[in-house]
């Protein structure tokens, strides 16, 4: 195996396109090295993107935040301004694994690993995040919602890799939140995850919302019908009940050792309600 560590995006693209064998992009490595060890991945080369300076930055961009693909979860959690704007996204990222994992794992890597239960993905989808992808044909931006195409599969074409995730500018009186159900208090994989991002007007009426569910379909899903139950309401009990029903209706999970279909369908609604209440409070609405 060969280890490649380019220092610019252009060099990375060139190296990635010129590899004849299987070349895997290495960001935090907390999924890739585990897959290599267990024999699920046997790359001919590894392209480490952590030596590319611009991929290590969290920077203001177009009113929002651009989080480089090599930024660790711990670095996101320590960035007070990012946390103030997108607390739900950062809390979702910070739920992944242990302190040790947080020291390496990246949000872009969580997206590319394409687990249906990835914690950060519903939060990014609710936030309206956009992935920037570099490849032989140049740079393209694509909604995070469209990146995973199935368990372990993404829309990335050969020679492409994600360089950053952009989180939009957060309007006034907005808030987001992510909750997951796991049978323990930490260090586990989501049985169901739910993210809500919403905006209120001065009177406390919801003017915009995005709701996303994880671990209840082959990919994390954006649930427009759930968002519609919140928009135009004050996110009161009636709206929250409708939100829960819409999320349960949208959940199409499998049954496995971590949860039955019935349980996951029910919990999707419960988590949506709770996440919406947190998002509303963060947006400055009456609790």
């Amino acid at each position: 195996m060969q280890y490649l560590s380019p220092t610019t995006v252009d060099d990375a693209v060139r190296l990635l396109s010129s590899q004849t064998g299987d070349c895997k992009v290495l960001a935090g490595g907390t999924d890739l090295l585990v897959r290599m060890r267990s024999g699920f991945a046997e790359p001919d080369s590894i392209l480490d993107i952590k030596r590319i300076d611009e991929l290590r930055r969290i920077a203001h961009d177009d009113g929002g935040w651009r989080v480089g693909a090599a930024v660790s979860g711990a670095e996101m959690g320590e960035h007070a301004d990012l946390v103030a704007d997108w607390p739900g996204v950062v809390e979702a990222v910070n739920l992944i694994g242990s302190t040790q994992i947080q020291g390496r794992a990246t949000m872009a890597g969580n997206l590319c690993n394409a687990s249906p239960a990835a914690d950060s993905v519903p939060a990014m989808i609710a936030a309206g995040a956009v992935a920037r992808i570099a490849g032989p044909d140049g740079i393209r931006d694509i909604a995070v919602t469209d990146v995973p195409t199935g368990p372990g599969k993404t829309c990335l074409k050969p020679g492409e890799f994600i360089t950053s995730i952009w989180l939009p500018s957060r309007p006034d009186r907005s808030g987001d939140a992510y909750l997951r159900f796991i049978p323990r208090t930490e260090m586990d994989i989501a049985v169901v995850g739910c993210a809500v991002a919403l905006t209120l007007d001065a009177g406390g009426t919801c003017t915009a919302a995005r709701v996303s569910l994880g671990a209840v379909a082959p990919t994390a899903i954006l649930v427009d019908a759930a968002a519609d139950t919140l928009i135009g309401t004050t996110v009161d009990d009636t709206a929250l009940d409708a939100l829960a029903r819409a999320c349960s209706d949208a959940a199409k999970p499998i049954a496995d050792k971590r949860g039955t279909v019935e349980f996951r369908v029910h919990v999707a609604g419960v988590l949506a309600k709770r996440a919406a209440i947190i998002a509303k409070t963060r947006a400055g609405g009456a609790p």
Partner: protein
């Protein structure tokens, strides 16, 4: 395949080594450099027995390639005591009997030191969450938590 030449810093000392691309940092520490304090429990980042710091940040040495260490500052359990002088955490682990078989101990000490470097006055809950990635099958954790909190108290009073 030619070996990769890596120049790095380990416990404050400049170190050079040759490794294969697939060698993890843990392989390098244990098999090439004889620093066997870091243990391999799972090899998949679940147990924390191989905890080290990279530029002051706690990571699992099994989830990082040896080649990735180039130019960074690595801290291992071997750098914790100063000669014969144990670190207060090490001393408290002995006093509280916070270990039995000892396999998890180096990783837990490195992780606990990293906690106290970040937060000299952690609550019990913060300590338990910080150490959630370090598994111990002997102690039941209570003695470990007590030792860490006691060491933190002494270190605050000493500073």
């Amino acid at each position: 395949m030619s070996k990769i030449h890596v120049t790095t810093t380990i416990n404050g000392d400049p170190v050079e080594y040759l490794c294969d691309a697939e060698d993890t940092l843990l392989d390098v520490l244990r098999d090439h450099l004889g620093l066997t304090g870091s243990k391999e429990g799972c090899g998949t980042g679940d147990c924390g027995a191989c905890s080290v710091t990279v530029d002051g940040r706690l990571v699992c040495a099994c989830l990082m390639l040896g080649a990735e260490a180039a130019g960074h500052e690595i801290g291992t359990i071997e750098g914790m005591a100063k000669g014969d002088q144990l670190h207060p955490l090490q001393q408290k682990f002995i006093e509280h009997a916070a270990l039995q078989c000892g396999i998890c101990t180096p990783g837990i000490l490195v992780a606990a030191k990293s906690l106290l470097d970040h937060n000299p006055d952690p609550s019990e809950e913060e300590t338990r969450y910080w150490l959630a990635g370090n598994l111990c099958r002997c102690t039941g954790y209570d003695k470990i938590i007590r030792a860490v909190l006691d060491a933190a108290k002494d270190m605050r009073e000493a500073s």
